[in-house]
Symmetry: C2
Subunit: 836 residues, 2 copies
C-alpha cells in the first residue's frame, strides 16, 4: 500500500469530497458559491450571477474526476499523446459538462428551486472562441472524444485574452469587428496554475560550440514567462477528465522600476507590455498567413512551453531520454506547431547533449503531422531573416536538418536539381523563406490528410516528392469527425431522446458507438416515427425562429424550407454561388404570376460566418448578402416564398441552434478545395440533407448515406485545373458561358440591391478569371436546388431521406477518428479511471 | 416580514452557510479548497498551497459576516463615513482575520491534522504593501478600529498591481529596487466585483453653458473604466465586517482591432496599456511630489470612481440630494484626494443641476481633511497647465471656487493683498500651481492634525490665515492611534496572554478598551510578574534573532540590549544621527581596554527602512549604515559590545517581529518635523522604551507614561527656526560646535568604513547648513543614550519602566482616534450586526 503523503490519512479521506450527484447537495453547493465565491445574496443575484455559481459548482464536481484522472495517469505511466493546436474552438462548457457528467436533470431541479431556469443560465455563458473555424472546432471535438474513450490525451494551446473578433454589421451592411473580451467576467472553467511556468527566449545570439555534433549556446534576447491555465475536458459518462493546457505570456519581471523612478513610465512598462502581447490576440485569419513577427512569436512561445512541460512530465518517470518516443506522441495540428521539431532538436542537442542522429531519430518518432489544406496560398512560410532574428538557434538547426536531408535526396535521386529545389526546407527568393509543411513532413513519423479525397491530393500534389522519397506508408488518411455529444445530444435533445427510446439503447451507449444509429433505418418506414421525427425538426425550426425574433427582431416563416450555409466567408467556399442563386430564384419569382408562385416551395435562406478583416472580397460578399436580404425580405410579392437572413457573429453556440433547424445545408466549395468540412457532418447527423460539390467529406457522407440522399452538383476535382487554364487562356464571356448567371450579375451591377458600383470588385472576380468556377458550376447548382425543391415537396420521402441520413452517419463520430489516431499513429491504450 | 426575493425561501435558507467554528468543518473546508479551488491533492500540496486553501476557507467565513454586514447597513440606512486614502498598508491578512474571528486555535488544530503548521503557513502570505509608510499604515489601523467598533465606515483606495518596491542591498551596500508583484500568486483576500464599474474621463474639452450658474459640459478625451475589488475588514470579536474598495483601471474597450488588423499591433494595444497603467504602480515617494501626469491621473481616477460609487449608494436610499451630508461623511487622508472637492462640485452642478451656492454648501458639509505634514516640500501642488490639460472642467471649477472665496477674504480683510496672495488656490509663478492644501482646507467642514503639537503647528504656520478667516473651531486635533489587535495581540501573543491572565480580563474586552491596561501598573511591583514580563521580551528577542539567522544568516547576540530604528529613510527622521552615534560608540569602545569594555552595556542596533528611489542622500545613508555594520560586526575587539544590522525590505510583517523584540527604540526627528509617528506607539505598547526628541506623539506618550520613562533629548520646536537662521548666517564649523561629532565625521571621511569620498555628499549636509540640526543635537543625543545604558544596567527598574509604559498606552489605541472622528467630525453611530 502506498504511503499517505502528508498529515492524518483518515482526516484527509473523510473530508475529501466526491461528485455531488443529488439535488440537495447540488443546491447547497450553488447557494454556498453565491455566498462565498460571488459574495452575493439572494437579494442581488441575477442570471449572470446564478450562472456563475452553478458553473463553479459543476467545476467542483468535474475537478474531483480531473484530480482522480491525473493521479491515475501518473500512477499508470502510460504512453500519452499531446494534441498541439493553435486553436481550440470550445464554445460553451456548462451544458456539455452537465451532460457528460450526467447531472443535467439534478442541476435543472436545484436551480429551479432557487428561482432560476437552467435554460436561461446556459445563455449567460460566453463562448470560448479561441479559433477561426473548422480547424479549431475539430481540435475541440477530438478532446471530447479522447476523454470519452479514456485515452490519455492532453491538448496544448494558447490562452488568448481576446478570441476571434465579434462581428457587427453596419447600417450599410459592412462587417465591423469588435474585440471579444471573453475573460472579462472571469472564467470558471479554467484553473490558473501559477506554479506551472517556463521561461521562453526570443532573439539573442546563438553560438555554435567548436567540439562538434551540432551543439550551440543560445543567450541574450528577451525572456518571457509562459504560465499554464488548465481547462478540464470531461469524458462522456466516464470519470476520465482530460486536460487542455493553455499558455499565457507574462513578463519575467514586473516592470523596470529604474525607468519608472527616473520618470520614464513608458520605458518602464514596455517590456512588460511586449511580453503580455504575445498571447493577447488570436489571429483572425483563416487560410492565409501574414508573416507577422507576433504570430511567429506566438507559435514559438506555445511550442517551447508545451515541449518543456511534456519533457518535465516525461522526466518524472525516471526513464532514459531514448525511451521518449515510447511515452510521448505529439500531434501537430496543421503546420502552426512545426517549430516544435527544431525546438525538440535544440533541447536534445544543446541541453541533453545527444548526438545529431540519435536526436533526429527521437524527433522523427515523436511527431505526427496533420495537413489541413492544399490551397497554395495557405501553405505556411516564414522569411528567413525574420526567423534568424527571432529564433537564431532554430534557424541554424533548420539549415542543418535541410543539409542532411537534401544529401539523402541527392543520394536517392542523383542530379535531380529541380527535385532538390522543390523539397528543400528553404524556398529561394527575396527574401528566402522557410517552408513549414516540408519541415513538418520530414520531421514527423506519419502524415495524414483529413478526408479521403484530400489525403489523396496531399500525396499527389504538395507532398508528391516526399511520397516518392519516403514511400507511401508514411502517408495516411484520417477523415475528420464530430462529437455526437455536442452535435446531437446537446444541441438537439429531443432528437437524442427519440433515438434512445426508439432504439431502446441508453444514450450513453449509442453516443459512444455511433454506428448504433444504423438501427434507425428500419424505422424510416414507420409512419408514427416519421411524424415524431418531422415534429422535432419543426420545433427546432421554431426554436431558431424564436432565437432570431428575440435577438434580431425578425419574424421568420417556419413553414418554409430552411436552407443554411454557415462557415467562414471565403471565395473557395463560394458563398457567392449561394447568394447569386438566391438572386436568381428571386428574379424567377418576380417573373411569375401569383398563381404560379403558389406552387413554389417556400424557402428561407440563412447565412452566417465571419470574414477575415483584411479579406476585401469576402467582406463585400457579406455586404451583398445583407443588402439582397433587405430588398427581397421587403418585397410583398415574393417574401412569403423566399426570404434571406444574414445572422451576425457566427459562433459555436449559434451553430447549435441553426444546425438542428436545417432542412438543407450547402457545402459548395470548388471541387478539391475543401479539405474535409465538418459542418456537413453536423447537419446530416441532425437529419438535415446536403447539397454540395463532390469535395472533401461530402464524398464520404454520400458513400455512407447513399447518393440518393445527397444533392451533388458541379465539376469534379480533375476538371478544375483545366477549367482554370481555359478561363485564363481561352476566356468565354459570362453572357455566353452562363446566361442565367449573367442576368443575375447584371441586376446586381444595375443597382437592384443598392449602388451596383459597390459590388463591381466582387462581380469582376467572376467575370474575369473566375478562379473558383462559379460560372462553370452555376447551372448545375441551380438544377440541384430545383431537385431539392422537388424532393422537399414530397414531404414523406424527404423525412425518409432525413432519417436514413442520420442513421448512416456513424462513421463521422470523432470517436472513430480519434481511435484511428490512437491505434494507427500514436499507439495509445485507453486508461479508464476507477475500472481496475 | 420582508418578502423573500427569489426562489424557495426554505431551500435557500437551509442551504446557506454560517461561520464554521468547529475543527471538523474547518478541516473539511480546507480539504475541499485543496481539491477544488486549487485543483490539488495531498500528494502535491506544499506550504504555499496549504496557505492558499486555509486562506480561502477563512475568506469564506469572513464572507458570511461581510454579506450580513452589508445587508444590515443597507436595511438600517445609517449615515456612513468613507475614508479616502491613496495608501493602505495592510500587511498580511490571515493571522489578523483568524484572531478577529476568534478561530485561530481551531484552524491551528485542523491544519495540524492535515500535516502542516499554521505558523509556517502564515509565513507564506505576501504583504499587501500598498503604501509607503505611516500614512498608509494609519489608514489600515483605522479600518480595523472602525469595524471593531461596529462603525459603518468604508475605505476607498487603488488596487496597485505593484505595491511599494522590494528593497535589495547590493554588494556595495546600495539600495536596489525591484518590483513587488504581490498579486502574482492570486490574492484570496480580494473580491473582484466586475459588475461594479464606472467610466472616468480624462482630457477632452469643457464648455461652459451660457444659461449660467456655472454649469458646463465636459466631452471627448480618454475614457477609462474603474473596476471595484473589495477587501473584507473583519472587526474584532464582532460580526461587523467592513469593506475596503480598491479600484483597478481598465481600458473601456479591449483594444483597437482595426489597427491590429492593419498590422499596427503597437497602435492596437496603446490605449489599452495607457488605461491599465493608471493603477499599475504605487508611487514610491514619501513626502515629495513630482508633478507627474500619471500621479494626477491616479488621484482623479480614484476620487471620481469613489464619489460615483458613494453617490450611487446614496441615491439607492431614495433621498433628496440636499440630504447628502446627513448620510455621507468623506475623510480626505492628506491632500491626495482633494480633487474629490471639485469633482463633487462638478457632479452637483453639471449632472444634478444644482446652483453654485447650494452645491458648495453640500460639498463643505461632506468633506473632512486630515493634514499630515507641515514640511514645506511636502505640500502638494499641481501645475495649472497640467491640470487644465487632464481635467479641464475641474480647473474651471477651481478657478470659480477661488474667485468666490477670495472675494469673501477681501470683504473680511479689505485691501490685504499679501493675504489674498497667500490664501489663493493658485500660486503665482511659471507655471502657476494649484495649492491642494488650500483647496482641501476651504472645501472641508473640519480640518485636523495628527498630534497635539502638529495640530498647533498647522494652525500657527501653514493654515494660519485660514484660522483667522474661518475661526479656530474649524480646526482640531486627532492624535493618531494604532490597533492593539495587530500591534499587540497578533505580534506579541505571549504578552497578550500574560496581560489577560494578569488582569483576569478576556482579551476581547481589553483589546477594545485599551485603557484597561492601566490595571498592569500595580503588577510592576510584583517580582514574579516582572520575571514573566522580562522572559517574554527575551523570547521575542530570540524570535527576532532566529528570523535574522534564517533569512540573512547572521547570528545575533540576544544577551545585548536591542535598539531599533525602523521607518522611511529621510533626513528629517535623522537616521544619520543614529548611525553617527553608533560610530561614536564604536570609536569609544575601540579606545577602551578590554577590562573597561567589560563594564559596557552590550548593544545591538537594528535599522530597517526604504529610501525613495530618487532620494540620493537617503540612499547614501543606507550605504553608510551597511558599511559601518560590516566593519564593526567584524571587529573582534568590540563586536560582543556593539553590533549593527540593516534589515532589508522593511515591511509590516518585519515590523511585527522587530517591535516586540525591542528594548529601546529611536524616534529622533528634528523637533517640529514628525507630525505624529506611530511606530513610537507600537514599541511602547510592547514594553519597549523610547529615546526621542520632543516631537510629534512622543510628547503625548511621555504625558501618558511619565517623563521618567522616556529618554528625551535635543532642541525644542520653537528653537529650530532660529538655529537654522544661525547655521546660514552665522555658521560655526562642526569642529568647534561639536568636536565629538567632528571626530566621527572625520573618521568616515578618512575611510574607516571604505572610501570616504563616497560619503562626502552626506557628510556635507551636516558640515554645511545642517538643516536638520544634527550638530546641535548630537551631544545631548549621546547623553540620552548613556542614560539609556545606565537605566538598562538596573534591569529590575528597567522592567518596571517597561511595564509602566505598556500600562499607560491606552490612549494610543486607534479605537480612541476613530471614535473621536466618528463623534467630533463625522457624526456617526455604531451599527452592530445581529444585536437588535
Amino acid at each position: 500500500k502506498e504511503k499517505w503523503p502528508r498529515g492524518d490519512e483518515t482526516v484527509w479521506k473523510t473530508n475529501m469530497r466526491g461528485v455531488d450527484a443529488d439535488v440537495g447537495n447540488i443546491t447547497k453547493s450553488v447557494v454556498n458559491h453565491v455566498q462565498t465565491s460571488l459574495a452575493r445574496q439572494a437579494y442581488n443575484l441575477d442570471n449572470l450571477g446564478a450562472y456563475q455559481a452553478a458553473a463553479l459548482s459543476v467545476r467542483d464536481n468535474m475537478l474531483v474526476n480531473w484530480n482522480e484522472t491525473q493521479l491515475h495517469y501518473t500512477r499508470k505511466a502510460p504512453k500519452r499523446a499531446y494534441y498541439l493546436s493553435l486553436e481550440f474552438l470550445m464554445g460553451r462548457t456548462l451544458d456539455n459538462a452537465l451532460l457528460n457528467l450526467d447531472l443535467k436533470s439534478q442541476y435543472k431541479d436545484g436551480i429551479n428551486q432557487l428561482g432560476f431556469s437552467l435554460e436561461d443560465l446556459l445563455e449567460e455563458e460566453r463562448d470560448a472562441a479561441l479559433g477561426n473555424g473548422g480547424l479549431g472546432r475539430l481540435a475541440a471535438c477530438y478532446l471530447d472524444s479522447s476523454a470519452s474513450q479514456d485515452l490519455p490525451v492532453w491538448g496544448y494551446g494558447l490562452r488568448y485574452k481576446y478570441g476571434i473578433f465579434q462581428q457587427l454589421i453596419s447600417p450599410e451592411g459592412n462587417q465591423l469587428e469588435a474585440p471579444d473580451p471573453w475573460l472579462d467576467n472571469q472564467n470558471p472553467w479554467e484553473l490558473p496554475r501559477i506554479d506551472v511556468n517556463y521561461e521562453v527566449r526570443f532573439y539573442g545570439q546563438s553560438e555554435r560550440l567548436p567540439e562538434g555534433h551540432g551543439r550551440a549556446i543560445w543567450t541574450g534576447g528577451q525572456e518571457v514567462l509562459a504560465v499554464a491555465y488548465d481547462v478540464m475536458i470531461p469524458g462522456c459518462h466516464t470519470r476520465n477528465t482530460n486536460n487542455l493546457r493553455l499558455w499565457e505570456s507574462k513578463p519575467k519581471r514586473g516592470f523596470d522600476l529604474n525607468s519608472f523612478n527616473a520618470g520614464n513610465y513608458e520605458g518602464a512598462v514596455e517590456s512588460s507590455n511586449s511580453a503580455a502581447a504575445i498571447t493577447s490576440v488570436l489571429y483572425p485569419n483563416d487560410h492565409t498567413t501574414f508573416g507577422k513577427e507576433l504570430r511567429l512569436k506566438q507559435q514559438y512561445f506555445w511550442t517551447a512551453a508545451s515541449l518543456a512541460d511534456i519533457i518535465r512530465r516525461f522526466k518524472n518517470l525516471g526513464k532514459s531520454i531514448n525511451e521518449f518516443p515510447d511515452y510521448v506522441a505529439i500531434q501537430l495540428n496543421d503546420t502552426h506547431p512545426t517549430l516544435a521539431i527544431p525546438e525538440l532538436m535544440r533541447i536534445l542537442l544543446d541541453e541533453e547533449d545527444l548526438d545529431w542522429n540519435f536526436a533526429w531519430q527521437i524527433v522523427t518518432n515523436v511527431f505526427f503531422f496533420t495537413n489541413h489544406t492544399v490551397l497554395p496560398e495557405a501553405l505556411e512560410k516564414w522569411p528567413v531573416p525574420l526567423m534568424e532574428h527571432i529564433l537564431p538557434r532554430h534557424m541554424q538547426i533548420i539549415y542543418d536538418i535541410n543539409m542532411i536531408f537534401l544529401q539523402a535526396v541527392e543520394k536517392k535521386f542523383p542530379g535531380d536539381r529541380e527535385r532538390l529545389a522543390r523539397m528543400s526546407l528553404i524556398e529561394e527568393g527575396f527574401p528566402k523563406q522557410v517552408r513549414m509543411a516540408n519541415l513538418a513532413c520530414i520531421g514527423s513519423r506519419r502524415i495524414n490528410g483529413v478526408a479521403e479525397l484530400h489525403s489523396q491530393l496531399v500525396q499527389t500534389t504538395i507532398l508528391k516528392d516526399f511520397v516518392e522519397f519516403f514511400g507511401v506508408s508514411k502517408f495516411g488518411n484520417v477523415t475528420n469527425g464530430i462529437t455526437p455529444r455536442r452535435w446531437l445530444d446537446q444541441c438537439n435533445p429531443e432528437l437524442s431522446k427519440l433515438i434512445s427510446s426508439t432504439l431502446k439503447i441508453d444514450k450513453s451507449v449509442w453516443l459512444k458507438d455511433l454506428y448504433k444509429l444504423k438501427g434507425l433505418v428500419k424505422f424510416a418506414e414507420d409512419k408514427g416515427f416519421r411524424a415524431e421525427w418531422a415534429a422535432i425538426k419543426q420545433r427546432n425550426k421554431e426554436r431558431l425562429a424564436h432565437h432570431i425574433e428575440t435577438t434580431l427582431g425578425f419574424t421568420v416563416n417556419t413553414n418554409a424550407m430552411f436552407d443554411v450555409q454557415i462557415k467562414r466567408l471565403h471565395e473557395y467556399k463560394r458563398q457567392t454561388l449561394n447568394i447569386l442563386g438566391v438572386v436568381h430564384r428571386y428574379l424567377e419569382l418576380k417573373a411569375m404570376t401569383p398563381a404560379q408562385r403558389k406552387k413554389i416551395n417556400p424557402k428561407v435562406v440563412f447565412f452566417a460566418g465571419k470574414a477575415a478583416p483584411a479579406y476585401y472580397i469576402a467582406k463585400l460578399t457579406i455586404r451583398l448578402i445583407v443588402n439582397v436580404a433587405r430588398v427581397i425580405n421587403a418585397d410583398p410579392e415574393t417574401k412569403d416564398y423566399l426570404s434571406l437572413y444574414f445572422l451576425p457573429d457566427y459562433s459555436v453556440s449559434l451553430a447549435e441552434v441553426l444546425i438542428p433547424a436545417s432542412d438543407i445545408s450547402q457545402h459548395i466549395s470548388t471541387a478539391g478545395t475543401e479539405a474535409s468540412g465538418t459542418s456537413n457532418m453536423k447537419f446530416c447527423l441532425n437529419g438535415g440533407l446536403l447539397v454540395g460539390t463532390v469535395d472533401g467529406a461530402n464524398i464520404e457522407i454520400a458513400e455512407e448515406v447513399g447518393e440518393e440522399n445527397v444533392f451533388f452538383f458541379g465539376h469534379l476535382t480533375p476538371a478544375v485545373e483545366d477549367l482554370r487554364y481555359q478561363h485564363v487562356y481561352h476566356p468565354v464571356p459570362v453572357d455566353e458561358a452562363c446566361p442565367a448567371l449573367a442576368n443575375v450579375l447584371n441586376q446586381i451591377s444595375g443597382g437592384l440591391f443598392g449602388d451596383g458600383g459597390v459590388y463591381e470588385p466582387l462581380v469582376n472576380t467572376i467575370r474575369q478569371g473566375d478562379y473558383y468556377l462559379v460560372t462553370d458550376d452555376f447551372d448545375s447548382y441551380i438544377r440541384a436546388l430545383a431537385m431539392v425543391d422537388d424532393a422537399y415537396m414530397d414531404r414523406d420521402e424527404w423525412v425518409k431521406k432525413s432519417i436514413n441520413t442520420t442513421a448512416n452517419m456513424g462513421k463521422f463520430s470523432s470517436d472513430r477518428a480519434i481511435m484511428d489516431y490512437a491505434q494507427e499513429y500514436w499507439n495509445l491504450e485507453p486508461i479508464p479511471v476507477g475500472k481496475d
